[in-house]
């Protein structure tokens, strides 16, 4: 793990309120020694961007169980417009295959589906944090 622990926002945008996934992931990342900024469901895209700036987040994890992933491309645009294109975005939940392709194209780093092991999520977040810090170093 990097010298500074990864800083991860775990959140939900859109309408859905099912928060089992976001809570389990938050607790897991925290147990793995990361700094987790957890929000309740229903965040506005602008709020997530603001939070990412203020918290200097390495990774944003979006949990989507009920098609809210359809507005993730808007989040990606908003992050780019705010100069945060180095921040890595991961998505977990119910994401149909054809939509996964669209999300990856929009710049999402990784989509986790039901059945993903918690260890894999931890490993991925560590790798993505290293990537983000490298990108940050290059642009600085």
């Amino acid at each position: 793990m990097a010298a500074r622990p990864p800083r991860v926002i775990v959140t939900k945008i859109g309408f859905d309120g099912h928060d089992r996934g976001s809570r389990v992931i938050s607790a897991t990342l925290r147990d793995a020694g990361m700094e987790v900024i957890y929000t309740p469901p229903w965040q506005e895209i602008a709020t997530v961007v603001k939070l990412a700036t203020e918290e200097d987040a390495d990774v944003i994890g979006i949990s989507s169980l009920a098609t809210d992933h359809l507005i993730i491309p808007q989040l990606m645009d908003a992050l780019r417009n705010a100069g945060l294109s180095d921040v890595q975005v991961i998505v977990g939940g119910i994401v149909p295959a054809k939509d996964e392709a669209r999300l990856l194209e929009a710049g999402v780093a990784r989509v986790f589906h039901p059945g993903a092991a918690l260890d894999d999520v931890v490993t991925d977040v560590i790798a993505l944090t290293a990537k983000r810090r490298q990108l940050q170093g290059e642009s600085a």
């Binding site: 928060d19 098609t67 295959a97």
Partner: protein
């Protein structure tokens, strides 16, 4: 396996049992005590030492008799099948109407309506990002939408479940449609399926409307109004499903649900209602996991506890008040994305658990729900699963067929004790609202969710295709439901604008003003004014917006 688990050395045991114990202990080397999902230790064998049947009449009764452990009706499925109530909802009202007609032709005997998440959250379609409209449920914003959705559907003869959290605008729209069609409200049957505001605050947060105490007031007004004017409607469905889906164990989910039931009953009594008036119309809604015997015991224990609460704690005298009526839905959380056709086997097992547990109505999930809202084919298989269990497997021939099994009766007792212990904890902090405001319930649910995921990750709980028996496959080949075409949603938005132009805005304004005023003090009935506003042409978003302003905005009470 240590011998004392079986508890057979302490008393003179029959020779056969002692012989079995010796042979079993030799045959099974590891001391592997098994626990069910609720944390109850499970022995390898149950005998008359675990359940003697001595207090049979008191603990079980007979079907249709207190305490209803064996079922709430004397006839159970011999008299009438459970209702096959499939959740449907997608797209615009016209899409819903077409799907309803298909599903009724296939043998569904009752309807349910899932509204779009924008509706759940209290908004009209023109207030939210268009990408999300109609992707998870039907967009229903006003009385005319409901009329379209129920076109040609005999709502006076068929039970309709509305997934309709506070302030229950969907029922208000249905009542307005009934009035227009000349159908008396006394003939309207069904359930306000998401009326349990507590479960929304602790688990799935499918509301975005009223602060907890505002929601608390409106639900009691809703119950009062329905008891008076829509007497065959079930205004309250108390939901354990949300909590179990969010991670609660089966025992926890049952305990939280019963504790919520206690809270609503006490609120109704405090509002001056007679338990024998409102209790017969309380219903419950549960998740059914794949843990078959545990689920059967959960339902049998729940029936017994509720009957005793109603009779002893609330003083209800009418046997109809003691009956624990419930709808079950097979658990989506158990379904896997890997080898998805296996989900048909899981749903079958879950459905069996619910049927053997004595449910009154059942929704079976489509096998593809881990990919998207079910496709038409998956929905057909889900309905067929119920028909197969009933008519090919003959699950309905005998009432409570597992009753009297040493294991099931002993497990029912163990689940009951576990559930009662959690209810006592909640009583101790002053009831469910207090427990929720303190975060106690959310904490327990979160801990159980994490504990279960760790069992899956460590392999101590097998999930076929996920942590065992894996195969290589391409998940891209599975069907997923198409989202509504943008043009279809644009058409809907135009019709919404037209509806707003053509209605009498003076009538709507007057009705919304009266609705706002009804929240002041405790004398007026808020839900009565929701119905009046719906009849005047107010939209869902306008009604929710008015109440949000008066009763406060609900934030999820969630935590890590």
């Amino acid at each position: 396996m240590s011998a004392d688990i079986l508890n057979i050395k302490q008393a003179a045991a029959p020779e056969g049992l002692r012989k079995w114990e010796r042979e079993f202990t030799q045959g099974v080397k590891a001391d592997a005590t098994t626990f069910n999902r609720s944390g109850i230790p499970i022995k390898p064998l149950y005998t008359q030492r675990d359940w003697t049947g001595e207090r049979q009449d008191e603990a079980l009764g007979y079907p249709g008799q207190y305490p209803y452990t064996r079922g709430i009706y004397a006839t159970m499925y011999r008299g009438r099948s459970w209702s096959q109530r499939q959740l449907i909802g997608l797209g615009v009202p016209e899409d819903y109407n077409q799907r309803v007609k298909e599903i009724l032709d296939l043998g569904a005997s009752a309807l349910s309506l899932i509204p779009c998440n924008s509706v759940f959250r209290g908004y009209d379609a023109d207030e939210v990002p268009h990408e999300l409209l109609g992707t998870c449920g039907t967009v229903i914003n006003h009385v005319k939408d409901m009329d379209t959705a129920l076109d040609g559907v005999p709502i006076g003869d068929l039970s309709t479940a509305m997934n309709d959290p506070s302030p229950f605008t969907l029922l208000a729209f249905e009542l307005a449609v009934a009035r227009r069609r000349g159908i008396p409200w006394t003939r309207i049957t069904g359930t306000s399926n998401q009326s349990d505001c507590i479960s929304h605050f602790v688990a799935n947060h499918m509301f975005f409307r009223l602060a907890l105490q505002g929601a608390r007031r409106v639900v009691i007004d809703h119950i009062k109004f329905c008891n008076a004017y829509v007497p065959n409607w079930n205004p309250l469905s108390i939901v354990g499903q949300h909590m179990q889906q969010a991670g609660a164990t089966p025992a926890e989910a049952m305990a939280f649900t019963l504790a919520s039931g206690i809270q609503y009953a006490e609120d109704c009594i405090a509002a001056g209602m007679d338990p024998d008036q409102f209790l017969p119309r309380f219903t419950f809604f549960f998740d059914i996991s794949v843990s078959l015997f545990e689920e059967v015991a959960k339902f049998r224990a729940g029936r017994r506890i509720w009957a005793r609460l109603c009779r002893e704690r609330f003083g209800a005298k009418d046997p109809r008040s003691w009956r624990f009526k419930f709808h079950g839905q097979t658990s989506g959380v158990d379904l896997t994305r890997q080898q998805p056709l296996n989900n048909i086997a899981r749903v079958t097992t879950q459905a069996m658990a619910g049927i053997l547990g004595g449910l009154q109505s059942l929704h079976t999930d489509g096998y593809d729900e881990v990919f998207s809202t079910p496709t038409a084919e998956a929905a057909r298989i889900a309905v067929a699963t119920q028909n197969i269990l009933r008519e090919e497997a003959h699950l309905t021939d005998v009432i409570d067929p597992l009753g009297g099994s040493y294991y099931i009766e002993s497990l029912t007792d163990d689940m009951e004790a576990k559930i009662n212990k959690i209810i006592a904890m909640i009583d101790e902090v002053g009831g469910m609202y207090n427990a929720v405001e303190k975060g106690m319930v959310q904490q327990m649910i979160g801990d159980s969710a994490l504990a279960f995921q760790k069992q899956v990750d460590s392999g101590s709980q097998t999930v076929v295709g996920v942590n065992a028996y894996q195969t290589e496959e391409d998940p891209g080949t599975y069907p997923s439901l198409e989202y509504p075409e943008p043009a279809r949603m644009q058409g809907y938005l135009q019709r919404l604008a037209q509806f707003k132009r053509e209605r009498s805005n003076a009538d709507v304004d007057a009705a919304l003003t009266a609705l706002a005023r009804s929240t002041e003090g405790r004398n007026a009935n808020v839900f009565e004014h929701v119905v009046k506003a719906a009849e005047a042409g107010a939209t869902h978003g306008e009604i929710c917006g008015t109440l949000r302003k008066e009763l406060g905005f609900g934030h999820p009470l969630t935590m890590v």
